[in-house]
Amino acid sequence: MLCPFVEEFIPTPVGPIPRVATTVSHRDRWGTIGARIGLIRRNYKVAPGLYAVGTPGAGSPVLVTANYKLTFDSLRHRLGNIDAWLLVVDTRGINVWCAAGKGSFSSEEVIRGVEQARLAEVVSHRRLILPQLAATGVTARAVRRGCGFDVLFGPVRAEDLPAFLRHDHQADETMRTVTFTMAERAVLIPVELFLLAKPLLAVLCLGPLLSGIGPGLFSPAAALERGLILLAATVAGIGAGAVLTPLALPRLPGRQFWIKGILAVLPVALCLWLLFAHRLTPIEQAAMLLWTATVSSYLAMQFTGSTPFTSPSGVEYEMRRGLPVQLAAACLGLGLWLAAPFLANGGG
């Protein structure tokens, strides 16, 4: 039952403690891919408790982290040649930032972790190093009151920990600032797409049903032809809102994400229109473009949840404006799409 990342057990005053590898294994790599595309995201955990990297002693630093395996891995994989204790807190398998925001990475949970691991018997100092982003959920002085350990908030990113430890626990401004680089944005896209599989399946089933309705009650030919175009319009909207918007985020004009989503859809909508316009009536074209823009705008707005700079007040502000527009556009688009076959017939 030994976890594959545990190399051996090292003796301590509180009994054997697992020493974990600091190198990336194939299993870690596959696990990371699985979590990033959303397959195993919900239950990718390590057991909370105390771990070791290198050969730590009573004076070695204690690094506190969340028990999401992706978080645990990104920490230990950067600790080659470092002797330290890792105190993994039970955050219900959620990453540091989300767990701190939602209350599971809390002062109480850190205190419980310290007490359960009997940390005071393992180390002679009384200092915990926490990731800076845990400060949203952890109150340093509450931890000190609760278990006698001082909390020092370390750098935002685990990759800066070796430098932080080398420089006498000093973090510079770069280490303390969140970033949202192209790579950091791109890595979020697969999960967003994975979560859209179900709604897309619904469009795949309902699209032809709705598209086939016409003056002759139901036309299978129209169901197939128009159903596929509706599906293409949905996929185009997803591409604009959940792929293009995250990638081009800082370049898209405007502050509100629902508007960024509409701007991102313009090139995609043009391609869609060039592809399908000749097969559609003007009313159907308008319906298709409205639908694509709505999907993109909504998904762009949804991306606020993945960024490290959108305030809840701001998100609420833009939702009060964006949601009614999206609702109206979706209803109008679908209404026109349904009405088009009747109007075309009446006109001709």
Binding site: F153, E173, T179, G305, F309, P312, G314
Partner: protein
């Protein structure tokens, strides 16, 4: 965090310089580097860059900083709206 700027004039962050004891906890924890100590008293730059994570207010020992903290996520806010409207837990939030 250069290159990013969200909606102006909406954040709930407020500071009370009279109360500040100059401990520097907020300076340390803010992921957008909005605080500094100016002659031992906190100084706030550009409150519109705040994402209301609440780390500063939580770690301030004297309540010199107040903010209504939360997660800036449309899905979570929508879930909260719908659940409040229906009085039941219809939707759960994202992460």
């Amino acid at each position: 965090m250069r290159g990013y700027r969200y909606i102006d004039g909406v954040v709930t962050l407020r500071v009370d310089r009279q109360r500040c004891v100059g401990c520097g906890a907020c300076v340390q924890v803010c992921p957008h580097r909005l605080f500094s100590l100016d002659e031992g008293v906190l100084a706030l730059r550009d409150a519109d860059l705040c994402m209301e994570c609440g780390a500063c207010a939580r770690n301030c020992p004297v309540e010199a900083i107040t903010v209504s903290p939360g997660v800036g996520c449309a899905v979570a806010i929508l879930a909260a709206w719908i659940n409040r409207l229906t009085g039941r837990k219809v939707l759960s939030d994202c992460c």
